[in-house]
């Protein structure tokens, strides 16, 4: 039954889509050659909007590939993440968004079968070069996960965890950072009277904001958000989105999201990925309103995915 629906969806897309694709990309461009290329495992150029070229990049990804054993999950991805901006990774399930995100702070190292190709650079320092200290690298990158994962300790200890593992013992420093981070994550007012209670007693949305506070406590050069709202209710989601809005500018954020509206609301740039490849990458408004590729339009308008 699903198959039948998909079939009709595909058929119905064609006629409506043809003019728009022609409008943006010119009549000479063959429609959906990208998906065909992807399916045939042919190389193709990702569509990267020129406005990105003027940005200062905090993170540069260069021809990055990743394999789980024999299966290739990421294909020669090249992109830059602009400094002080919010970049969203979108794409259907299994397209490699999260894998790419977790490659940035080398969380994939925890899986034995992973091999990589290509490079990544964080403010010019190679991430995957031999001899890079993974621990030191991760200290420069903050990460927030899909499900809130506060540690089994007090709210205070959760926030200052990064400082604790660096061996910071000065109470004044810890308290200062704790307050600044909780304020930054918009949790200070709710949590200031219960700093020494277990973090696990917070609500789901509060826990996720706590995780953001924990991530920004170490003043990361880039903040990775892996579908930060997927386990939250709409109200909590709204608060996190507002928070991302506030963090914009002070932090460079790379986020994965499944939610088109969220990507369009919160991000400055959006990258569309499909089956392990970067398809189109540009300013969010352009990607959503007038994408250069018909495939991107199909996805952002909900015709598939």
């Amino acid at each position: 039954m699903i198959r039948a629906q998909r079939e009709t969806a595909r058929k119905s897309v064609k006629p409506t889509n043809q003019p728009s694709a022609a409008h943006h990309a010119g009549p000479e461009r063959p429609v959906r050659k990208v998906f065909d290329a992807v399916r045939d495992k042919q190389p193709f150029e990702a569509e990267i909007h020129p406005s990105l070229l003027t940005e200062e990049m905090v993170l540069e990804v260069d021809a990055f590939s990743l394999y789980y054993g024999a299966a290739q999950a990421l294909w020669e991805i090249s992109m830059g993440i602009p400094k002080g901006k919010v970049t969203a990774l979108i794409g259907p399930s299994g397209c490699g968004k999260s894998t790419l995100l977790r490659s940035v702070n080398r969380m994939n190292d925890l899986i034995d079968s992973v091999r990589i190709g290509g490079t990544m650079r964080l403010n010019g320092d190679s991430i995957y070069a031999a001899g890079v200290d993974v621990i030191e690298l991760r200290k420069r990158i903050g990460m927030v996960f899909q499900k809130p994962n506060p540690f089994p300790m007090s709210i205070f200890e959760n926030v200052v965890y990064s400082l604790r593992i660096d061996g910071e013992r000065k109470k004044s420093v810890l308290e200062e950072v704790c307050e600044a981070s909780l304020r930054g994550a918009g949790l200070w007012e709710e949590a200031k009277d219960r700093l020494h209670e277990s973090a696990l007693r917070l609500s789901g949305g509060q826990q996720q904001r706590l995780c953001i506070a924990r991530a920004i406590a170490a003043e990361p050069e880039v903040l990775l958000l892996d579908e930060p709202c997927s386990a939250l209710d709409p109200i909590a989601t709204g608060r996190i989105e507002d928070l991302i809005e506030e963090l914009k500018g002070s932090y460079s954020i790379l986020m994965v999201t499944h939610n088109m509206q969220q990507a369009s609301r919160t991000s400055d740039y959006t990258a569309f990925m499909y089956l392990g490849r970067l398809v189109e990458y540009g300013p969010t408004e352009d990607v959503f309103v007038q994408p250069r590729l018909a495939e991107t339009e199909d996805y952002v308008t909900g015709r598939f995915g």
Partner: protein
């Protein structure tokens, strides 16, 4: 997605069978399963509760003061004692034959009137030196009269077991100063506390002062021996040591004599008092007050007296040392030994088990070797505990202990210091025994720590060890404590291996005491579990020891429960800390 689109779809569809189980049937409602599962649980609970009730009731009744009853049999015999047990039975003719001819007919008649059934009582008669027995059966058809003599006295003696008799008088310096029971009782109550105090003082001198002198003597002797071993028999050093020894010996000997004199003085004072008691057979017995631990007129007690006797006996049981080859007195050394051994065992086994589990779960690469080790650890839990005892004896006592003795305690040889059973070796053996009990729950607890928490920690830049120490271990702590609780329960109740590696019937000294260096890991110790075995099966009079077996069992169960409750309370506290929306 594309694969999904192109996948061929099978046209054959599965049709569910209907009507195989009717919705109204007994099975679909689960009724029989409820009965089966509930019944199984009920049976388990019944057995456990039954056992606990038996131990509880029997154990609690041990110290209750009982009435002293005197029966006169139709043959003219007299029995005086406490009724322990009542039962109905059908006497055989042979039993009637035992009666004298004159009374046999009357007895038979009475038996017939009762339909051939008789009631008999097991009476604890004691007075072992007179009767040669502790218990006797009294059947109703052979008794003529039952009385409860007002001044029947139950006397607990330091040696020879209890004595039951009727109070007749009180002697002072060999002179009878009271012939009336009431007057004698007043005098007894007046003098007994002072006598008991002197007995305690005498024991303190024997134990502490004389013990100190003996130890000093032993130290001097060992110093000579050490000098001889190190420098040779004829060396100057050995000669000076020997001279020093003789000089010191004189001082110590006079000290010893002085203490003996003190003891004799106390004994002389105590020997002035004696009780005169009429035993069941009518003979009058003289009982020196110095031998009395406790005496009470069993048939004259009101409720308050009963409670106070019960309390005093219970206190003696908990806080005193055993007498009469452990069948009387207290079990303090055994309690102390059990607790010490269990605590030392926990301190040894928990860190080791946790470290081993950490390696297995966190560091080792999963593979056949790790699986094999895991299976081996699990199987270790199934090895009979006596095997561990044999291993402990062979490895810890005879190998490690003997080596330590040769290296550090050569002057004491051939008498072993560490080369024999002791509290340290017993704890180590039990730690080995309970290792799987700690490793298995700890590993499970480690595996149950969500990977999201570990990832969160790694993402913060924590190293593996920091993650383990700060995230994984605290989160797994309740599970680790579960392992510890199980280990304590297993270890505290284990007896078989202890018999080989250090538990003894009677340990003169505790493993921890006031004598430097205060902790004596090489000392053998008493253990409640072993005490139970010893009372029930090794004592000269196991029937008399039976109540103590129950009481000691009750105490051991109570002790294990107490240790567990403490551990469970700690675990509950930790759990509360980690409690939250997401667990």
């Amino acid at each position: 997605m594309s694969e999904l689109l192109d996948a061929p779809v099978s046209t054959k569809r599965y049709v569910r069978r209907r009507g195989a189980v009717r919705a109204t049937s007994l099975f679909s409602n689960g009724e029989p399963m409820v009965w089966l599962t509930g019944g199984a649980l009920g049976l388990c609970v019944l057995m456990i509760v039954g056992m606990l009730c038996l131990v509880g009731v029997q154990g609690a009744a041990t110290f209750q003061p009982r009435e002293l009853v005197r029966w006169t049999t139709i043959d003219g015999g007299v029995v005086l004692g406490e009724v322990v047990e009542v039962e109905r039975y059908r006497p055989s003719d042979a039993q009637l034959e035992l009666l004298s001819e004159a009374t046999r007919a009357a007895a038979r008649e009475r038996l017939l009137a009762q339909g051939g059934e008789a009631e008999r009582r097991l009476v604890r008669t004691e007075n072992f030196e007179l009767t040669g027995t502790h218990y006797t059966w009294v059947s109703d058809f052979e008794t003529r009269e039952r009385t409860t003599p007002e001044w029947a006295l139950s006397i607990e003696r330091r040696e020879g077991g209890p004595f039951y008799g009727v109070l007749r008088g009180f002697e002072l310096d060999g002179q009878r100063v009271a012939s009336e029971p009431a007057a004698a009782w007043t005098l007894l109550e007046e003098h007994l506390p002072a006598v008991l105090e002197r007995v305690d003082a005498r024991r303190a001198i024997e134990r502490e002062e004389i013990g100190r002198v003996n130890r000093a003597m032993e130290t001097e002797r060992l110093a000579v021996r050490r000098a001889e071993l190190e420098h040779g028999l004829g060396s100057d050093a050995a000669r000076t040591a020997r001279e020093l020894f003789s000089a010191r010996e004189v001082g110590l000997k006079t000290e010893f004599e002085r203490l003996r004199g003190e003891i004799e003085a106390l004994d002389r004072q105590n020997s002035r008092y004696a009780l005169s008691v009429e035993a069941a057979d009518g003979s009058e017995q003289r009982i020196p007050l110095a031998t009395v631990v406790r005496a009470y007129p069993a048939n004259r007690l009101d409720f308050g007296d009963r409670v106070s006797i019960y309390a005093s006996r219970t206190w003696e049981f908990l806080a005193d040392e055993p007498r009469e080859s452990n069948t009387e007195g207290g079990v303090l050394p055994a309690i102390f030994g059990t607790v010490t051994m269990t605590l030392v065992m926990s301190i040894l086994v928990v860190p080791f088990g946790v470290l081993a589990a950490l390696y297995l779960r966190e560091y080792a690469k999963p593979g056949p070797l790790v699986s094999f080790v895991r299976i081996a650890v699990n199987n270790l839990a199934g090895v009979p505990s006596i095997v561990f005892g044999v291993f402990g004896l062979g490895f810890f006592c005879y190998f490690v202990g003997a080596s330590i003795d040769e290296l550090f305690y050569a002057e004491r040889l051939p008498s072993p210091t560490f080369g024999t059973g002791g509290v340290l070796w017993a704890s180590l053996t039990l730690a080995l025994l309970t290792l799987p009990v700690v490793i298995v729950p700890t590993e499970e607890a480690l595996a149950a720590v969500p990977s999201s928490m570990r990832e969160g920690s790694y993402a913060c830049g924590a190293t593996k060890w920091q993650t383990i120490r700060r995230i994984v271990l605290p989160r797994a702590m309740p599970g680790i404590l579960t392992g510890m609780i199980l280990a304590i329960a297993r270890g505290a109740g284990e007896v078989a291996p202890l018999m080989l590696v250090g538990a003894v019937k009677l340990a003169p000294e505790l493993p921890i005491d006031g004598e430097a260096p205060f902790v004596h890991p090489s000392r053998s110790f008493m253990h409640l579990g072993f005490h139970i075995y010893d009372l029930g099966f090794q004592s000269p009079n196991s029937e008399a020891a039976k109540p103590m077996v129950y009481t000691t069992t009750l105490l051991l169960i109570g002790l294990v429960v107490l240790l567990n409750v403490v551990a469970i309370a700690v675990r509950a506290k930790l759990r509360r800390r980690f409690q939250g929306a997401q667990v």
